[in-house]
């Protein structure tokens, strides 16, 4: 990295820090909530992109891993004295009924548990080819959800867990998102990351170059699941309640939309599109409200229209704009400078220092 770029990066990070600080102090709770959701979706989409975009494994199990993280946070952070109120139908299992963990420990435990499950699932499933892998991971994500629904003494079954303390504020969430982004960038620029990309491009060639396919696939899967668990934990703490219905596999489609729009295999693309899609879903809520101009009601606008628009958007991107915003490229300072110089007339084209 050039010195100038280093300084720019530090300025950017400082700028973001100031932005979050001012957001925390001045923004109203609704906007803060949307921002938090954007950051959580960044974590989740990025971890899914590690598996799907960088390693080329078409996995649809993200909702399941997320559910594990969310439930671990839910189970262990609800204060002990409130548990009998939450678990009113069937008391909590005595083994865990008196264990209460601090939020951070529960978050990490959730991530680790999701990673462990990914390890157990990965052993049989990652030997499968693309579409079989998709359906098998989707199946596991549903099995996780079904187990959660049925294990009433641990997860409170279909009633869900309420009264999760709202520890996850904007600092927690953006901090975790930042750590995730840095970790993923370091990972994919390491030798492991290059091996992942080699597997994505051509499995047979990668194997011939001495890459252990299976180990690398499992590694990518486990790391992706770990961050999915973390993201899920934050999500549960942000909502204050977890419910098996939150984690239907349709949720995974949201992250799929994000990584397809951002570009399968681009970190910066994923971050940008996580914010666009999540904030867009909030701002487009007016599509679900009846709209009238004067006394004339526009008939299209009623509940459900927003999701129709979103699914059409996904289709259009896949059909006409397959590489998404970034493809496999990354946004870096050189690219920004090039774009900048295109719009400014002071500097001749291609005139910047090489």
């Amino acid at each position: 990295m050039k010195k100038q770029d280093k300084i720019l990066t530090i300025i950017l990070i400082a700028g973001l820090f100031v932005f979050i600080l001012s957001a925390d102090l001045f923004f109203d709770s609704y906007i803060k909530r949307v921002l938090n959701l954007c950051a959580i979706y960044t974590i989740l989409a990025l971890s899914m992109n590690l598996i799907n975009g960088f390693t080329g494994l078409f996995s649809l199990g993200h909702a399941g891993f997320m559910a594990i993280g969310a439930y671990v946070v839910g189970i262990f952070t609800v204060p002990v004295e409130m548990r009998s109120m939450v678990f009113y139908l069937k008391p909590m299992h005595p083994l865990i009924a008196n264990i209460e963990l601090p939020f951070f420990a529960a978050l990490i435990l959730g991530g680790l548990l999701a990673a462990l499950v990914a390890f157990l699932i990965g052993a049989p499933v990652l030997r499968l080819r693309d579409d079989y892998l998709a359906i098998a991971t989707l199946g596991f994500s549903e099995i996780i959800r079904i187990i959660i629904t049925n294990a009433q003494s641990i997860t409170n079954g279909s009633l869900g867990i309420k009264n999760i303390p709202p520890t996850a504020n904007i600092w927690w969430i953006f901090g975790t998102a930042f750590v995730t982004i840095v970790f993923i960038i370091l990972l994919i620029s390491s030798s492991y990351g290059r091996a992942f990309k080699a597997i994505r491009e051509d499995e047979i060639a990668a194997e011939a170059m001495g890459i252990n396919l299976f180990n690398h696939k499992v590694l990518s899967f486990i790391i992706g699941a770990f961050f999915a668990g973390i993201g899920g934990g934050l999500y549960g703490a942000l909502l204050g309640t977890v419910d098996p219905k939150n984690f239907l596999f349709v949720l995974t489609y949201n992250f799929l939309l994000i990584i397809v729009l951002g570009g399968m295999g681009s970190v910066s693309g994923t971050i940008i599109s996580a914010f666009i899609v999540t904030a867009g879903q909030e701002w487009l809520r007016f599509l679900d409200e009846p709209l009238s101009i004067g006394s004339f009601d526009i008939p299209l606008f009623r509940p459900g229209f927003r999701m129709v628009v979103f699914s059409i958007l996904l289709m259009l991107i896949v059909l006409f704009y397959r590489n998404g915003l970034m493809g496999t490229k990354e946004l870096n300072w050189d690219m920004l400078k090039r774009i900048g110089s295109k719009f400014s007339f002071k500097r001749p084209k291609g005139g910047e220092a090489k």
Partner: protein, 296 residues
């Protein structure tokens, strides 16, 4: 055999037949395009809505309504193929998969938007709701009707695949897509026909599903869709007889699981997925599937 066992068996066979009908659509599309048509379950759901509106809202007599529904659904299947799959035929496999997921998502949201998310009651048709008493158990006519229809369809389909020109073209395309094209087979027509047949069968499945389990809602196609895909994999994907066998195994297994081990009722939906994973580990080509080797 006790009377309840007989009842369970009859239910298992008819559920299995329904799975089989839908599974055939998956297996045919997979055989030709090597893709999971994720939208198949939602085409099934749309067919159930078509039938609901045909009978309950427009009051078309049921035999005509059924024919109309089957034709409309076949058209829908062809439309999906034409607009969402054909433009991506030479694209990377993942793009087609995403497109299929996109169609499925779109159809669900569209149904939710147009027909509202509230479940609708499928109209009762007296002919099918009548019960017959056999060996001391009363069983609905539809329970017998479903396997009978499935068997007839299977016979017709096998005839088409093995004896007609269209069937020959389908087999050629599924063996080797490019060579078939060189031989002068109109690939687009063959693929469109495959989608039409598959969707038509899904429509029959949906109508009979609606009669047996009378509730129509936008997400009704998701679970049956996934299970039928699993049935197709169990039987050996690409193989029509295999799809039927897989459907029966899944349907019977599910009903018997719920009947005999009632404590596991909550895990009913997990049963299919566990079966899928076992089959993928121990016999990835399914019961009747051919072994394929990867060419470098």
């Amino acid at each position: 055999m006790s009377s309840t066992t007989l009842q369970h068996l009859a239910n298992g066979v008819s559920l299995g037949s329904l799975y089989a009908l839908v599974a055939i659509g998956y297996t045919m599309v997979y055989g030709i395009l090597r893709m999971i048509n994720f939208a198949h379950g939602d085409i099934f759901m749309m067919a159930a809505y078509f039938a609901f509106f045909g009978i309950a809202t427009f009051r078309v007599p049921w035999p005509f309504a059924f024919i109309g529904v089957i034709l409309a659904t076949a058209l829908l299947g062809m439309l999906v193929e034409r607009s969402a799959y054909r433009p991506l035929r030479d694209a990377p496999k993942n793009s087609i998969l995403i497109s299929a997921i996109g169609v499925s998502f779109l159809l669900e949201n569209l149904a939710n938007y147009l027909f509202s998310g509230k479940p609708k009651a499928f109209p009762e048709i007296t002919f099918f709701a009548n019960t017959v008493v056999i060996g001391g158990v009363s069983i609905q006519v539809i329970t017998f009707f479903i396997p009978a229809v499935t068997m007839i369809i299977l016979a017709i389909l096998l005839y088409i695949i093995n004896r007609t020109k269209l069937g020959m073209a389908m087999r050629a395309v599924s063996k080797d897509y490019e060579t078939a094209m060189v031989m002068g087979i109109d690939i687009n027509k063959v693929i469109a026909a495959t989608f039409a047949i598959g969707s038509g069968l899904a429509a029959m499945g949906a109508i009979m599903w609606g009669i047996k389990y009378p509730q129509v809602q936008p997400m009704m196609g998701v679970m049956p869709g996934l299970k039928c895909f699993i049935a197709a994999v169990i039987g050996g994907i690409g193989n029509i007889k295999g799809a039927v066998i897989g459907g029966f195994i899944l349907g019977l297994g599910e009903i018997l699981l719920v009947a005999k081990l009632s404590s596991l009722t909550g895990y009913r939906d997990a049963f299919a997925f566990i079966l899928l994973i076992l089959i993928l580990i121990f016999r990835p080509t399914g019961i009747l599937g051919e072994k394929t080797t990867e060419k470098v």
